[in-house]
């Protein structure tokens, strides 16, 4: 048997989804007992890399991957999560995969139960064996003790605090006797500070037993605290592998963000703070699952393009959705000097706001209706435009709608077969232009645009951003643009507010350094200005 210095070796890993390259030439080497950190922005390729390691079906069904994965020096082909488990690779999930009605022991031992033969099993085979509850309890106890958890192993999961659940997930993994590599995917995201400290300590203990740990997190401080080595990914490429001693949070932040000076789209940015405030938000809370806004206060000045950035799941998307009344919100909002009613979409639209949703396909479009119907819909329903009255009935004015659609198709360069084409058949970029056209029909004073370039190709991206700049410069529209892509915020916005953990971490200028953006997004305290 060939032995190796590394327990896990991933060499030259690459992956393409339908011609769209998401990962290329990534090498990852893990020694036994090492804690290895992986950092990167959203979309840097972290999850794809993990999906490859676990043989997830998204990888297999889209034509596999490039490169070799070696376990203990032996090339291994991992085609399913079961293969990964058999090879000794375990994972602590971000969303807990526990059965609430089962006890801790039952959860730890699920599908790996110790059994005793009985009369029935002798006839009908192994599946009918009795559980050896005593042995199972003993093993579970041992795993819990390793983690310093003095909780009874027969308590049911339901009702336990979140922190405990996380530890039970870990206990389940370390109970597997062949465990060699354990992956932690954003384990501290849901934990309180003291729970997070405990978790990091447990990770160190586990590593001491010779198990290699892969640690994925946005929190650079934690990476620096526990990791031996750190791999930085950016845009699907491996940017650097650093020893913990040789690096700093600053350096990691810089590596992670990279030199993101996008193409400058605006000649001169405004000094906006002299303009009057058009929208003032105080203590906004929005219950949007996955993008919860916990406490946001923000002032938007007339005529500016303000960017809202931050990592996924931190709550940046919730702000626009909350103000437009699409998700339950509370707080105090003043718009154009008058109080503003939250949780009321009609009110928001009538006060001159418009919203281009981040969820194009399920909120932004009527996919099975024509382009012209999509464009005119909101203006027709809310502003009584493009209607004619027959007797007492308001009927859609086909002629006006048609000429409106043709105008928009021309102005925004929507590539289509004509105004009657179904929006489902359009490409992502052209669908986005239809969404923007619909918002423009309302002649809004304040436009919320969320993730305007998500899922569209490079050429279309530029056109969409140029359109936004034009609206601001020609029409003086105030624009609140939410985006995960820092580069585009920097190239378009006058100011950029960074949201972390449901709060505004700070407001930066596009000219501020990359490091500052990186630190603020990673939630490092000293990054705020």
């Amino acid at each position: 048997m060939q032995s190796s210095e590394y327990v896990l070796q991933m060499d030259g890993i690459g992956k393409e989804y339908h011609g769209n390259r998401v990962l290329s030439g990534v090498d990852l080497h893990l020694k036994p007992g090492e804690i290895h950190g992986i950092v990167g922005e959203n979309g840097a390729g972290k999850s794809t890399l993990m999906n490859i390691l676990f043989g997830m079906s998204v990888i297999q069904s889209t034509g596999g991957h490039e490169g070799v994965v070696k376990i203990d020096g032996k090339p291994s082909s991992i085609h399913s999560p079961v293969d990964a488990m058999n090879l000794g690779i375990g994972m602590v999930h971000q969303e807990f995969m526990l059965i609430p009605g089962f006890s801790i022991t039952e959860n730890i031992k699920l599908n790996r139960e110790q059994t005793k033969p009985n009369l029935v099993s002798r006839v009908f085979g192994k599946d009918m064996r009795t559980l050896d509850r005593v042995a199972m309890g003993k093993d579970a106890r041992q795993a819990l003790d390793t983690l310093d958890m003095n909780i009874d192993q027969w308590v049911t999961i339901a009702g336990l605090p979140v922190g405990h659940m996380q530890f039970i997930e870990i206990a389940r993994e370390i109970d597997k006797t062949n465990l060699k590599v354990l992956v932690f995917d954003e384990p501290t995201a849901v934990l309180t500070e003291s729970e997070a400290v405990n978790l990091l300590k447990a990770m160190k203990d586990i590593a001491k037993r010779g198990i290699a740990i892969l640690f994925i997190t946005h929190r650079l401080q934690e990476i620096i605290d526990v990791c031996d080595r750190i791999t930085v990914l950016r845009d699907g490429k491996m940017v650097a592998v650093k020893e913990q001693k040789e690096t700093s949070i600053h350096q990691l932040a810089e590596l992670m963000i990279g030199n993101k000076v996008g193409e400058v789209m605006r000649s001169k940015k405004k000094d906006v703070c002299t303009e009057p405030v058009i929208l003032s938000i105080k203590n906004l809370k929005v219950a949007m699952s996955g993008e919860e806004v916990k406490n946001v206060s923000l002032e938007v000045h007339r005529g500016e393009i303000i960017g809202i950035g931050g990592l996924a799941g931190q709550g940046k998307l919730g702000i626009a959705n909350g103000i437009m009344g699409l998700h339950p919100a509370s707080g105090e909002v003043i718009y154009e000097g008058e109080s503003f009613k939250l949780n009321d979409t009609i009110h928001a639209l009538e006060r001159g706001m418009a919203f281009v949703s981040e969820d194009r396909r399920s909120v932004g479009l009527l996919l099975d209706s024509s382009i012209e119907q999509n464009i005119a819909f909101t203006a027709m329903q809310r502003q009584e435009k493009y209607l004619r009255t027959i007797a007492f009935l308001k009927q859609a004015n086909k002629k006006e709608i048609r000429s409106l659609a043709q105008q928009m198709i021309k102005d925004l360069d929507i590539r289509c077969t004509g105004p009657t084409q179904m929006t489902r058949r359009l490409s992502g970029g052209n669908q986005q232009k239809v969404c923007i056209a619909r918002a423009l029909c309302l002649n809004p004073k304040l436009l919320f645009v969320s993730e305007p370039t998500r899922g569209i190709d490079v050429g279309a991206k530029k056109l969409v951003l140029q359109t936004l700049v034009r609206l601001s410069e020609d029409l003086g529209m105030t624009i609140v643009m939410t985006s995960s892509e820092l580069a585009e915020l920097i190239s378009v916005c006058d100011r950029i507010a960074i949201v972390t953990e449901g709060k505004i971490a700070g407001i930066l200028k596009p000219t501020d350094s990359q490091v500052e953006f990186g630190l603020m997004m990673a939630g490092a305290k000293d990054g705020s200005t």
Binding site: L326, L365, L366, Q373, K394, Q395, C416, G418
Partner: protein, 352 residues
């Protein structure tokens, strides 16, 4: 700058695909039956006449499916609710001793407010049962029919045409012979090549279709359609999705009420008690044969589907009687076709 025209090449395969496999099969089946019927010397003009009459008489009932589907509440299995409102309207017209067109239109006028109230209640219930509308609707239909059985038996109508000669309550079938039997069918009707054309009936049916079509070009109609297609989109445009669903169901219920009156004048009888029980399924099967799904329906689906379904029923009875002398064969084939089509459509639910 210019609109980029992408020329679409016509292909037979594409055309057949949009027409849909089930429709191709049914059209072929219908044509086969027609050929067989001719070889069995069943008079073809008679078959076609019957098909036209049944097309018009069932058409409005099938049309009642459209607003409900468009509003996103699925197939209108609550059709018995509308039917019962229509029947009450019809009974009131007889009780007031009206005859002819007056009776027919009075019946419609009486039934509309009833249907609006019933439709509102039905729509309200649909809003509380989002996600399982069609299952619940089926049982609402069943329950209301049973409940009304008690009502029919106790109803205080006095007219000797309707009440049992002894005791209380209404008869199971009430003849319209002296009221408005075939009043639409015979209006301006004529024969051509031995085929009877029920002009008035067809005009009324097509008129109702145009009315529905017009509704979907109005502001409310467009909002209703959008609410069905994408509730989250409509909500983001400040449309009250729930109200739209209620309006859709009110509209469906009113059409159901009118539909049964059209049906009854052609049939010649008002049928009470359990008669409305399965009408919802037949109407649902018709529109599905026409190419509608539980999320999308158009007037074309109504016209095509009703014609195919009724054409099939009309021709299968005499053919089945000649081929095998099993009495209930036609009924069996009808049940197989209608339920089979409903099953097919429901299985397609996740496919789109």
């Amino acid at each position: 700058m210019a609109v980029h025209e992408i020329t679409k090449q016509f292909s037979l395969k594409e055309a057949l695909k949009t027409f849909g496999l089930p429709r191709i099969i049914i059209v072929l089946f219908l044509i086969t039956l027609w050929v067989v019927s001719m070889s069995l010397e069943i008079p073809f003009p008679q078959l076609l006449s019957d098909t036209l009459v049944r097309w018009g008489m069932n058409g409005v009932l099938v049309l009642a499916m459209v607003p409900s589907i468009m509003a996103g509440t699925g197939l209108y299995f609550g059709l018995p609710v509308g039917i019962i409102c229509g029947l009450i309207g019809g009974l009131l017209a007889i009780e007031l001793n009206l005859v002819g067109f007056t009776a027919f239109f009075a019946a419609i006028l009486f039934s509309i407010p009833l249907a609006m109230i019933a439709g509102w209640g039905y729509g309200w219930m649909m809003n509380r049962l989002k996600g399982s509308e069609m299952t619940v609707a089926t049982y609402i239909g069943f329950s209301i029919v049973s409940l009304m059985c008690i009502f029919w038996a106790m109803a205080p109508f006095k007219s000797p045409e309707m009440a049992w000669p002894i005791g209380r309550g209404l008869r199971v079938t009430i003849s319209l012979a002296s009221r408005y039997d075939k009043i639409l069918n015979d209006f301006l009707s004529f024969r051509i090549f031995g085929i009877y054309i029920p002009t008035g009936l067809l005009i009324f049916f097509l008129g109702m279709c145009l009315l529905v079509k017009f509704f979907f070009t109005t502001k409310v109609g467009i909002a209703l359609k959008a609410s069905g297609e994408n509730p989250r989109f409509s909500q983001a445009s400040g449309v009250h999705v729930d109200s739209m669903r209620i309006i859709g169901n009110i509209f469906s219920t009113v059409l159901g009420a009118i539909g049964i009156l059209v049906y009854s004048q052609s049939f010649g009888f008002l049928q009470l008690y359990t008669a409305p029980l399965f009408m919802g399924f037949l109407a649902a099967a018709s529109i599905l044969i026409g190419g509608a799904s539980i999320k999308k329906a158009s007037i074309l689906h109504v016209l095509l589907g009703t014609f195919l379904f009724q054409g099939l029923l009309v021709v299968s009875l005499p053919v089945a009687n000649k081929v095998a002398t099993l009495g209930s064969l036609a009924e069996i084939s009808r049940i197989i076709v209608s339920n089979g089509v409903i099953l097919y459509a429901l299985a397609q639910k996740s496919g789109d």
